[in-house]
Symmetry: D2
Subunit: 314 residues, 4 copies
């Protein structure tokens, strides 16, 4: 079977098009309903919270590929201006202010439903060229997800369970690996969950330098997990890697074929470049791998992605 | 008493300098400990969640004052490129990608602890010029708050209780108004809370246009509430206005004197331009005005503010 | 005749498609050959030079229309950092550095050949969707003009000659006005010239505030000048207005119909928001209205416009 | 002598402080007066012109050092939007528009007079912290140079004459090398000139990749040329390297010591990352190494540097 046929077969087998009506803009976040969110809140027992975001600054992994830079943060006013300059404020008042310029997917982020297309089709079967124009995503912009991305999070620390800490680059995580990890953790993945898969790739980048973290070889989900991602009815998945799926991709000359199935066809919310290290250490310590997760995207109108600071609370 | 004396008196009376040690970078967020966060989680009963963020786009309130623009969102790749252009991806893969340039405080946001100074002093008594330089906030950058801003939220809908819906511009909300509102709601403000004060100013801007929303006349907290803000030991306060305190300010020739007390001296986390409309309507309906609130700032290294999409969950 | 028919008629009558071969990327700048540039140099007699650029800062005319902001200039390092901060340089070295974010056409600028299309056709008859994609102008990007835009400039101060100083908003400058002005100046417009038309609109904006300078009513060239613009074989035209042609446009429900003819069909280089005040005063003084003009666009790869600081040298 | 003493000695020996009065904002551009500009115009004989700018895009040399990125150019509207989207314009009108975000010194540029300080002093002896604040350069912003940077250009192709094509990294160009090159060319450097020194470093980067072009080893002017740069009374100097002076610098632990002398003390206008290749080839062909040079900075208010597209015209 050619790569294109394999993608088409998976797309057909796992499509959620129409599942939530023709006007749907939420995809699998529909699974995360109020009852599940309320149940997830009961996972907060200690009150301890973890930020799953990398820091947003120039020491990030981006290398300019497709005009993606690291975040550029600059100051409009500073404490130096307040003390030694002439800000023009009365009564001893001083202030600092700042701006940022960045690709929306340069660091810890969510892929919006308008981020990836398959043969010109966006989520729910819409023509990609009617959905995302120069004005942005006119239909499934990430602002539509603004209130909804909070629920049960489940950490699958495949790096620790299968890799003894970290998986090597090019390691394709299969359904079997996911199940074995969940079993080792004593946790079950359920409908509406936000699943966080730790590979250990970020830990290695921290230790050894970014290198090719952005786009280069990495462990990640196998193309063959498309069925699992569909069948489990999870609301979202996130990893500590640049691109969520294994790199190099498993097909010849392919580019992110699992994205091509899960975003436009499954309508799955995908998170990338999450920092799962502190959370994973805590989970390994108390053997509790589920938690409340609040990971609301910034509602940039028409955006096809968003930076996010996900909070995991146990 | 001159304005400068009044500010100095309040600063001295309500200072938290040293309260959490000389190295503190969290301010009043210290009040929001794990026990309080765990208790707050029990406020999630229905699982219904509200985004308290405005949408981030060019239809915002900014008018260029001090180089603040509205968010500029542009596309790097679109569905049009995927369908009609030549993206160079194999097997029918297409993608869209985008960037943003914006002041960190142009829309729904948190003020960082390095945002405001009093006579050259930043939070905890540090010299402002050693804290916030051209490189950003080297000490109290908003990234330090990344894991912590989730806990009990309390809505005080002063606009509805005192104003019959909306408060007029220039209306100074006093401690008495805050207490009367809480009493009317049947809710008590407690240590570690994130208090959301609705004035109705945003509702009016939505109806009548932005006008001078950014910096012009507005209802807001009276300078005289500094003691209440200190004594209640709340973790944070947020409003639906540009600048949280009443405008015009209550002193002659003053500029945001309450900021000058609460940020550098109390160490209070202040939120502005929050959209409390949907939440307020729900609270008015079920008479429940406390909820779980997750409002994690984006951890931009050294930032003195951050855009945020706060989630209120009941 | 309907507006659409009028535009089509002018487009057909004045088309330069194919005039410089199928691969042309320069349009009317082809008229400005080396001999003409050398001859133009002989107009430099005094050595006095004028910048025809507005200053690039937040005090500009942009109001957010179609995501156009004024230039946002921010500092990465300052003299305050050098003196009071800790830049980390040895031996007393200090530095300042800065960044800018701006629309390429937010202030004094050139329209590139990829800026305007007519019924899906770009300059030289190319399909617009094959020329300008999400990656920019793949064919006629403004970088192609980089070495060429220097030659004879001619000022036609229509504001002074016809308007007694300034033309009123909505005033449509006709061929007769242009000819009368040239005659009054004692100057002839020739092939390869860069013609600068002063209306006085910028002077009025300086005096009375920007108001609707960006997109609102303004004097400017009449649609009926399309033939003159074609027949004179000028290399470029520039005005002191936002949009070069008269506003409101002369057709019902039209939007910049003269652009629609001159850019895609004539291939004319169009400059906007030029500051002709100082030059015009000098020309009125010495009665010399031609000069050497160097107005090289910034070679931003694939750009459909460019900021420019045009130098007029007499 | 310590590096710091050597810098101090050169600073004292070659200072132009006060030479053009206490309010000067032009530095050595004062040398380029109208008579010299008029004389320079007579060097235009052929009318052939060369752009000395690199292209501004993501394929540039920047690597993130001190938050410097390559230019990020993004589209607001495209030909795809015009043809397949819904731009909302009448009568077949379509348009493309774009924005840029970039450090002002990321590619071919001028250093402004506020770019470098020596022991807290800026050009003309002013305190650096009163000159360049968070608002930019309040005194010597590059906008002041807007009308003046056009005059006689002289190419010194040291790479060709001394290096047989290209100088190796770390090669320090001395006064002797400059004089020998001028003599070989049969050209004399005179007061008010804009001197362009070609090392061949850019040609090598084009051939071999950017590598450490931005900040790494490079040929460049020796610290010992400070006297020559002062004595010759040139208006400006520009090179094809990142930093104009030799790298590594000639003193232990130094950082750009020649900058520290020539910008704040001599008031010299310095250009970097110029593309002198095509011009140099032409000059080698016709043995004429002087020309008219128009290199007007973009008048960004308060900027300490500016991108530029210099035109050399022979």
């Amino acid at each position: 079977m050619t790569p294109e046929d394999a993608i088409a077969e998976a797309a057909a087998a796992y499509s959620n098009w129409g599942r939530w009506g023709p006007d749907d803009v939420l995809g699998t976040v529909n699974f995360l309903d109020e009852a599940k969110r309320a149940a997830a809140a009961r996972l907060i027992r200690l009150g301890v919270s973890f930020s799953l975001a990398q820091r947003f600054d120039m020491n990030g992994p981006q290398n300019g590929w497709r005009r993606r830079t690291n975040p550029v943060h600059t100051m409009l006013d500073t404490g130096l201006d307040a003390v030694h300059g002439d800000q023009g404020f009365p009564h001893g008042f001083g202030g600092a202010d700042d701006v940022i310029a960045m690709p929306l997917q340069c660091s810890t982020q969510w892929d919006g439903l308008g981020h990836i297309f398959d043969h010109g089709r966006a989520w729910n079967g819409r023509p990609a060229d009617k959905v995302v124009t120069g004005e942005g995503d006119l239909v499934t912009g990430i602002e539509h997800l603004a209130p909804f991305v909070a629920g049960r999070g489940v950490l699958l620390d495949v790096g620790r369970v299968i890799g003894g800490g970290e998986l090597p680059d090019g390691f394709a995580i299969t359904e079997e690996h996911l199940n074995a990890t969940a079993e080792a953790h004593g946790v079950a993945v359920r409908c509406g969950d936000i699943v966080c898969v730790r590979t250990g790739r970020l830990a290695r980048a921290r230790r050894e330098g970014w290198g090719d973290y952005a786009g280069g070889p990495a462990p990640g989900l196998s193309f063959t997990t498309a069925g699992w991602l569909h069948r489990t009815e999870i609301a979202a998945i996130a990893t500590d890697t640049w691109g969520f799926e294994v790199r190099p991709n498993e097909f010849e000359n392919a580019f992110q074929p699992l994205h091509q199935v899960v975003i436009p066809h499954i309508g799955l919310l995908v998170g990338e470049m999450w920092d799962l290290e502190a959370l994973a250490a805590h989970c390994a310590g108390d053997c509790v791998h589920d938690f409340f997760l609040a990971a609301a995207p910034l509602p940039v109108t028409g955006a096809v992605g968003s930076p996010v600071n996900p909070l995991a609370i146990k």
